[in-house]
């Protein structure tokens, strides 16, 4: 086991990207992502990796430059957050439709307005349907691991789709904590060179980004969906390989005291760790509470979720974003619809919480479990809102 290194997680993300020997990065600064951009440019400017760092003039251009560079066969990275992510929104479904394996770090932050630079998941949820592989990191170690893994996932010939690693803004990006870094040799062994199926080069001219008439568009959409759905098999395989090489196990749905749990909390991202402490406290008091953490959001791991829910009576979905005027939080809504036909499905309680940096303490998770126990229906509810 390698030594634990203390480092800010945003800087660790940039170091992980450097270990992947990228060819091109195009990053526009935005709080709380900027330390990734700064440190990556520092790595390039000091010649630690041989890459082009494009200092684009917007996130829209960041993603566009990534598309162009990725199309030449280069290994490409960008990072963003919040407003930046939705400024590049237009290009996100194009990149996945063009099957360009761009890897992106997203420092999760609330969407304006009103302006709020703090952490929630409303940014990524607003681009949920763009056809990207979407992963959520719980801590700095996962940021490193998922970043390296996602290059392999994205570039895999059976996948060829872009991937986004979500890391909670501030809560993770600005956190100094211990992490283990793989060595360059280890990463080289894990991550093969990219072998693109088509590249922009005059030796073999191809046309990319051709438009679809109505007579073929549906087939193209089906093909894209199949590619994303099927990518799960490759993702699982890559996680097996990772475990073999590095000893750390990754699953689409992580479970904590879920086996005999009557009540399960479902979280995403860094809050899961705090929630696990709350589970410990409740277990001490003899309550059968457990925790599920959704690491893989797209493609959605339905089978894994189902098997984790066996025996569960109440599922509490903690959403850090909401669909205004809709059925609640995006995660809660989706899980309700996916389990609609399951006869033995648990009661699903959906809390909207942790919005725009509202801190969630151990007591808050305990309070939500208590509230869920008393709740009679399955309507969604804001947690901790002042009345």
């Amino acid at each position: 086991m390698s030594k634990r290194t203390g480092m800010e997680v945003a800087i660790a993300a940039a170091e992980a990207v450097a270990l992947c020997n990228i060819d091109v990065a195009a990053v526009y600064p935005i709080t709380p992502q900027s330390h990734i951009a700064e440190h990556l440019s520092d790595i390039v400017h000091n010649g630690r990796i041989d890459a082009e760092f494009i200092t684009v003039e917007s996130e829209h251009s960041a993603m566009s430059a990534c598309a162009g560079a990725s199309a030449t066969g280069a290994r490409v990275y960008t990072a963003t957050s919040s407003q930046g992510l939705i400024l590049m929104h237009e290009i996100l479904p194009i990149v996945s439709a063009m099957r360009l394996p761009v890897v992106m770090g997203n420092a999760n932050r609330a969407l304006s307005g009103p302006l709020n630079i703090w952490n929630d998941h409303s940014d990524i949820m607003s681009v949920r349907d763009c056809g990207w592989i979407q992963l959520f990191a719980e801590n700095g170690q996962e940021v490193i691991d998922l970043t390296i893994q996602s290059f392999k996932m994205a570039e895999h010939p059976d996948v060829m789709l872009p991937a986004v690693v979500n890391l909670d803004g501030f809560q993770l990006t600005h956190m100094i904590e211990p992490m283990e870094f793989p060595t360059q040799e280890e990463v080289n062994r894990f991550l093969p060179e990219r072998a693109p199926f088509a590249t922009l080069h005059p030796d073999k001219p191809v046309s990319m980004g051709c438009f679809n008439m109505p007579d073929i568009f549906t087939e193209t959409m089906m093909a894209k969906n199949e590619a994303l759905v099927n990518s799960k098999q490759t993702i699982l395989k890559i996680w097996d390989e990772w475990e073999k090489q590095f000893g750390r196990r990754y699953k689409p749905v992580e479970t904590y005291f879920s086996e005999d749990a009557e009540t399960l909390i479902l979280t995403m991202g860094s809050m899961s760790e705090t929630a696990s402490v709350a589970v410990d406290e409740m277990r001490k008091k003899g309550k059968r509470v457990g925790l599920l953490r959704l690491r893989l959001w797209r493609p959605f791991p339905l089978e894994e979720l189902r098997s984790a829910l066996k025996g569960c009576k109440t599922l509490i979905v903690m959403d850090r974003a909401l669909s205004f005027g809709g059925a609640g939080g995006p995660v809660g809504t989706e899980i309700k619809s996916l389990l609609f036909h399951d006869k033995s499905r648990p009661r699903i309680v959906n809390f909207l919480m942790g919005l725009g940096g509202r801190d969630m303490k151990v007591e808050d998770f305990i309070a939500m479990v208590e509230r869920a126990g008393k709740k009679k229906d399955e309507t969604y509810e804001f947690y901790g809102v002042r009345q």
Partner: protein
């Protein structure tokens, strides 16, 4: 687990202190967190930063509301910010000040454990700058015993390079001169 809250002003290096303390703990094989109070504060504004140190992996990621230790980098903050807010019973307040402890206790109406050191004076003499952030680390190590003194060597050297020796000297002086009372 020990939880520390730092009070300083933007530009005084509270975040650097928090980083150095976390890195030293990790260097020692412990687990640690170091993070700023997330916000848009600019130079001069009162800011906070936090540390958690434990022998076990740390899972709590919320803010710190009941600190074991509060560090005040800038004495002028004591009348502006409620620095003792939420401090645990038996907790420790560490203040950078030249004033006698009684005056601090009177100002804050504080009866708990207190440590004081004139870190600004030490910093001015050793570093030629009235920036007390690293100097204060010496007082913290002595007053809390949370880390070995030597654990700061590597982080200080990596951070300060050729002025590392001066910083270490200042740290040592603070370590030796901090006054601790029950």
């Amino acid at each position: 687990m020990i939880e520390i809250r730092w009070h300083g002003r933007g530009g005084q290096g509270a975040v650097t202190s928090v980083e150095l303390l976390a890195l030293a703990a990790i260097e020692e094989g412990k687990y640690a967190q170091g993070f700023p109070a997330f916000g848009p504060e600019r130079r001069g504004a009162p800011v906070m930063a936090y540390n958690r140190v434990d022998a076990q992996p740390i899972r709590v990621r919320s803010g710190i509301y009941q600190p074991d230790v509060v560090v005040v980098l800038d004495p002028s903050l004591m009348t502006l910010v409620n620095v003792t807010d939420g401090i645990k019973p038996g907790g420790l307040l560490i203040v950078n000040t030249a004033k006698p402890q009684k005056s601090i206790r009177d100002t804050l109406k504080y009866t708990g454990r207190l440590a004081t050191v004139d870190a600004t004076h030490i910093a001015r003499e050793e570093l030629g700058l009235p920036i007390a952030n690293t100097t204060m680390l010496g007082a913290i190590l002595k007053a809390t015993g949370v880390l070995k003194f030597a654990s700061l060597d590597v982080p200080i050297e990596e951070r300060f390079g050729r002025i590392a020796a001066k910083n270490k000297k200042a740290l040592k002086r603070a370590y030796d001169s901090v006054k601790i009372s029950k």
